[in-house]
Each structure stands twice: as C-alpha cells, then as structure tokens.
C-alpha cells in the first residue's frame, strides 16, 4: 500500500441532525479521512480511483486535535472514513488513539467485506468501534457485481456484518450498523429491494446519500418507496441533503425541516 501524505481536513458532520436549526446539539461525529478515495464507488458512473492511505502520524494528530476541540456536546465521537480503513496498515493504532483521547463513540466507514476475515469483526469491536457504516451500492450480489465488477462481494459484506453483530451480541454491547447507499442512476432501480435485503441482514439504518451525479427530482418516488420499505421492515431509512425527498416523507431527512425537492 502506497502511503500518501495528502492533508485532509477534519470535518464535523451532523450524522444525526434532528432539526433544521444548526444548533449542533445532537449526536455528531467528526469525520477523519484515513486516506483518499472511498471504499466503494459505482464503476459505471466513474472509474474506480486508487485509494491511498494517509500517514499514520498525520491521522493521529488529527484525532487528537479533534478530541481537544470537542465542546460540551455528547462525545467526542470520531468516524474513521475515507479510503477503506481495513487497508490502512495502522488501523489498530488509529482506533486505540481514539480511545486514548477519550472518544465516546468510534465509528468505521468500510466496504464491509473485510469484517468477515481474520477475526476483524470481533477485533474492531473489542478495540472500541461501536458504529459501523458499510457502503453498499446494492445488496443483491448480482446487481452489486454489475456495479462494482467484483463477483461475490456482497456475500462477503453480508458475512462481515453478521460477524460484527454476532460479536456485539456475544459481548453484550450496543452497536449501530448503518448501510450507506450512494445513489445514482444505476443504484436507484433496485433501491427498495436493496433496503429490504439490508433489513434482512439486521442493519439498523440505511442512509441514502448523493452519488457522483445529481438525481432528477423524479427519483423522489423511488426514494419514498425505499423509505416505506424500511418502515415495514423495521429499519430506519434516513436521507441526506441533496437527495430528492417528497414532502410526505420529510421526517426521513437527516436534516429535518423541509423536504429536499
């Protein structure tokens, strides 16, 4: 793995805003990029970029700075994201540093398949990771393969999520598994099916986020159907800014206050 030294600024992202007013009084995470790139991207929308990890020292410094700057809000809460964190050579040290600086909630954003291997699921849980964000384009293996070009990937992701949930159950600790679905013209047609399958895996929430290209407002019908599929399958679906959402479903918006379309 080539290690890049590209500085990536820490960003506080309101993962769970419950009100339009930016009072910042909800469960927020500071998102720290462990490298450039994203765990998963739609290959039809954009050529897959090579992920590059950042130097460990720069990430550790950023973790410490983020913790020190944390105010009175619940936390500190840190999400390690960016390129696939399981490919970072010093991931255990990164998580350990989050614990050392007093992080109350630690999250990982991952493609998910690595969780199934080598005791990774129990390992990250034991290290302190309580929030898992798995980026998926589709939960059906055939569709996912057509979008990523990687056969069998979703079977590994499903096994990884199951391993993490089982490790948490055995340990008796509360965790949250969120499937993050980037939306594009290629992921949209199977979106409701994707939510249904993810619910059957036991994920606690599905977050719909913008992909590489903007969606037409007409996509809001499919977004609403995905939200309703989540409701009847006891899985919360939350919709990020920039994703068309009809007014009838405004309570699914990450930022409450108005529909997106």
């Amino acid at each position: 793995m080539r290690v890049a030294t590209v500085p990536v600024a820490a960003r506080t992202i309101p993962l769970y805003w419950v009100h339009a007013r930016e009072r910042g009084a909800v469960v927020e995470f500071v998102r720290i990029e462990v490298g450039e790139g994203a765990p998963v991207r739609c290959a039809r929308c954009a050529p897959t970029a090579v992920s590059e990890s950042r130097t460990t020292d720069s990430i550790l410094a950023e973790i410490s700075a983020a913790s020190a700057a944390w105010g009175d809000r619940p936390g500190p809460n840190i999400l390690l994201a960016g390129s696939e964190p399981f490919t970072h050579p010093e991931l255990p040290a990164l998580v350990a540093t989050c614990v050392e600086v007093g992080a109350e909630r630690i999250g990982l954003e991952t493609e998910g398949g690595a969780l199934a291997a080598h005791g990774n699921a129990a390992g990250v849980l034991g290290a302190g990771v309580r929030h898992l964000q798995v980026v998926v384009l589709a939960a059906d293996d055939a569709i996912a393969e057509s979008l990523t070009g990687r056969p069998g990937r979703m079977l590994a992701v499903k096994a990884g999520v199951a391993a993490y949930l089982e490790a948490a159950r055995e340990a008796g600790v509360a965790v949250v598994v969120t499937a993050v679905v980037p939306l594009c013209h290629h992921t949209l047609p199977a979106l409701a099916q994707t939510v249904g399958l993810l619910a059957s895996w036991g994920v606690h929430a599905v977050r719909l986020v913008p992909g590489d290209e903007p969606l037409p407002d007409s996509a809001s019908v499919m977004i609403a159907a995905a939200c309703d599929t989540g409701m009847v399958n006891h899985t919360w679906v939350e919709v990020a800014d920039g994703v068309p959402l009809p007014a009838t479903h405004r309570l699914h918006a990450l930022t409450i206050g108005s529909a997106h379309d």
Partner: protein, 428 residues
C-alpha cells in the same frame, strides 16, 4: 369443618419482578379476621410474555374457587385470553379483575367479557377482602362497595365507590408479613400513594387522589428488612416523585445512606428534576442512587399546557447537570403523540434531551389509558387510539398515522445511536 376458599392470585409482570399489588391484597386479606382460617391463597407471579394457554394450565392446577387478577394495559390481552380459557375449563370459578386497566372501565370490561364475574374499582385491598368474604358466603360480589359485578341477568351492576384507605399503615407490609419474599433487583417499595401532579396522560394523580403516606416507621422497617436483614443490594421505589418535598428527600436519603455505604444501589427512581440541585443530587448519590428517570415527556408548549405539565428548560438542565456532577445517570423520557404536539415539537424534544447528554433517552408512544384525562377527552383533543389495550395512539390532529410511526422509528434509532458508546473506558 368446611374446606377453605381456594384463592389464586395472578399477575403477569416484567421479567424478574413480582407484583407488589398482589402482595398487598394477600397481606390485607390474610390479616382480615373474617377470613382467618377460611381462605387459602396461592400467588402466581408470572412474566408478561407468558403464553395464555400455559398460564391457564398453571391456574387450573390450583383448582381455585376465586381467581383474582391484577391487570395493567401491558398484560390485559393475555389476561382476557387466560380468563376465557379458565372459564371454559372451570365453570364454577369466580373471576375478579382489578388494576388501573380495568377499574375505570369496569362496566365496559364486564360487557365485553362474559367470563369475568366482577371488577374491583380503584384501591383494592379493602374491597378484595370484602369480595372474598362474600365469595365464601356465596353472596353476589356487587354487595361490596367499590365493585362492579353482575345482576341476576348477568348485566353489569356497580356498587357505590369505596373511599380511599385513610391510614395506609392498615395495609400490612407484604414483606414484613412474609407474603412477599424479596427478589434481588426485582423488589418494589412504595412510600406513598397519589401524585402531586395532574398529568393528563397519567392515571396516578387522578386515580389515587390526594397524597397519603405510609408511616416513617413502616418505611424504615421495610428498608431494614430488605437491605439489612435480607441483604438485598438492589430494589426499586415506585413512588411517582421520589423528591416529593425537600424534607421527605432528606429523611428518605438519610434512611438509605447507611445501607448504601454497605453496597445498596437504587436504579431508576423517578424525580422532579427541576427541584434537583447539587445538595439534593449529593443526597441521592449518598443514598445509593445510580440512575433516575424523569421527563420532560414533551417540550412543546401546546402539549405541555394541554397535559398540565410545567417545563422550565433552564431548571431542567440545571437538574440534569447537578445529577451528572454527582455521578448519577439520568433517563430522559419523551412521549410521541401527545395532543397538540407536532412532529417538529417531538424532534425538538429529542434534540433538547440529546444536548443534555443525560445518559439515556427513552422514547415511547402515547398510551391513552383508561381513567386518565386524555382517555375521557380523547375525541375533544383529537386523539385516535386503539380501544383495545394497551390503547396505543394511532393518530392525532397534529401528527398523522404515518408520521407517528416514523417518529417512533427515528427516535428508536436515535436512541440506539446515542446508547452505542464506550463507557468509563470499558471496551468489550
């Protein structure tokens, strides 16, 4: 010598708990001279998720002459199933229900459930003892004040109301009398009845009227029995407001402090948090309190007014902060679906609670309970709810059905997100 009247008492409780209500009923009846040597009790403390046929099987094994059941909104459906099955198997058994779920709607319950003979309305100890005395003499239950029974045609027939028991010490302690054996972590203590508040969704203040207390000596004796003699290290208080007055708080925490020094811990007592300061929080901590439960239930001004609740965000925040400084975890409760609350009101309430970082946030959907003001004024207040127990709200004039379900799902998820954290540096 005639055979004693065989009485089975049934409660379906939260896992790990036993019914204090049945303990009171039995302790009072066993001390009643009319019943001495004439009544034999069996208590079935089962869990609320027990299957009705299995519960009925347990009852039938006792072959009771009278079956008394404590009914709450959570167990009512199972109770009705049990009673229907038992009635078919034991045609001569006399079935008597009591509790907040059935007392306020006694005639309706009897009309809907022909297998039930009578419903005790309100406070049950005196009334149930009278019922048993009537049962052993073969008399109609409707002769007892506080009972709705049946007339000769089977129609509901209500006797006059029964006055509340003025001196609660007349009710023997279920613990001190040996009726209830304390369960570690699952024993309840009650120091008074009634509530100073009149929250429109709650039965406590309306159903039990004015405040009445057990004597200080009685409470002290129960605590000494549980925490001292029996060595119970964790039990619960069911008082609606633990810090009823400053004087009472000082007395009660002073009573508990020596036991706390020897390891007693108290979980989830209910407090009026706007009256908690550092002094009160310190007293609670020294009394072994590790967690408290409180509102605000809603922060929407319209809903608060309709429900007769006061809420001062500054005082509320001060109370939470004082408890946190004392090392006490706070559970903030919110109710979705209160009349006049909007979705944004509810979400603003969640936001307010999360900002306090209290330790735990508990959200629930409104249950329109029989006997409460909301039950009586539901149509006027725009509440549509399931007439069957547990009477969950379906929609309000300000929150539609779908949005109410979304708020439930969202708040459950948010609570999970908040709760998934490292605590005290402890990992797995």
């Amino acid at each position: 010598m005639t055979e004693p009247l065989k009485v089975a008492l049934l409660a379906l409780n939260a896992p790990g708990y036993q019914s204090l209500a049945l303990g009171y009923l039995r302790a009072y009846a066993e001390a009643d001279q009319r019943l001495a040597g004439r009544v034999a009790f069996q208590t079935l403390d089962l869990e609320s998720d027990a299957e009705a046929w299995w519960v009925a099987y347990r009852i039938m094994g006792l072959e009771p002459d009278v079956l008394g059941v404590s009914v709450l909104c959570w167990n009512a459906r199972t109770v009705y199933d049990v009673c229907r099955i038992v009635r078919q198997a034991l045609p001569d058994v006399r079935i008597v229900l009591g509790g907040p779920e059935v007392g306020p709607i006694a005639a309706d319950v009897l009309a809907a459930h022909p297998e039930i003979d009578a419903v005790v309305r309100g406070e049950g100890e005196e009334v149930f003892a009278d019922v048993l005395d009537l049962a052993r003499r073969g008399k109609p239950f409707s002769r007892a004040d506080g009972v709705t029974g049946r007339d000769a045609t089977g129609a509901p027939l209500a006797a006059p109301d029964r006055a509340l028991i003025a001196d609660l010490d007349r009710i023997p302690s279920p613990y001190l009398s040996g009726v209830l054996q304390p369960v570690e972590g699952g024993a309840y203590i009650e120091t008074y009845r009634g509530c100073p508040h009149r929250c429109a969704y709650c039965f406590e203040g309306k159903g039990y009227g004015r405040l009445r207390s057990f004597s200080a000596e009685r409470v002290a004796a129960e605590i000494e029995y549980l925490a001292g003699e029996r060595g119970v290290r964790s039990f619960s208080f069911i008082d609606p407001v633990f810090n009823l007055t400053d004087e009472r708080l000082a007395w009660l925490t002073g009573l508990l402090e020596p036991y706390a020094a020897r390891g007693l811990v108290l979980h989830t007592i209910e407090v009026d948090i706007e009256r908690i300061d550092d002094e009160a929080a310190g007293a609670l901590r020294r009394a072994g309190v590790v967690s408290v439960e409180t509102g605000p239930q809603s922060i929407g001004e319209a809903a608060l007014a309709t429900c007769h609740r006061r809420f001062d965000p500054a005082r509320f925040t001060r109370g939470v902060e004082a408890l946190k400084r004392a090392g006490i975890s706070v559970e903030c409760d919110l109710i979705a679906g209160l009349p006049d609350d909007t979705p944004d009101d509810f979400l603003a309430g969640l936001e307010f609670c999360l900002a306090l970082d209290p330790g735990k946030i508990q959200t629930s959907t409104l249950h329109v309970l029989p006997g409460t003001e909301l039950y009586l004024r539901a149509r006027e207040l725009g509440l549509r709810f399931d007439p069957e127990a547990p009477h969950e709200v379906i929609a309000t004039d300000t929150i539609g059905f779908s949005d109410l379900r979304r708020l439930e799902a969202r708040s459950v998820h948010l609570g999970r997100v908040y709760g998934a954290r490292l605590e005290d540096g402890r990992h797995v």
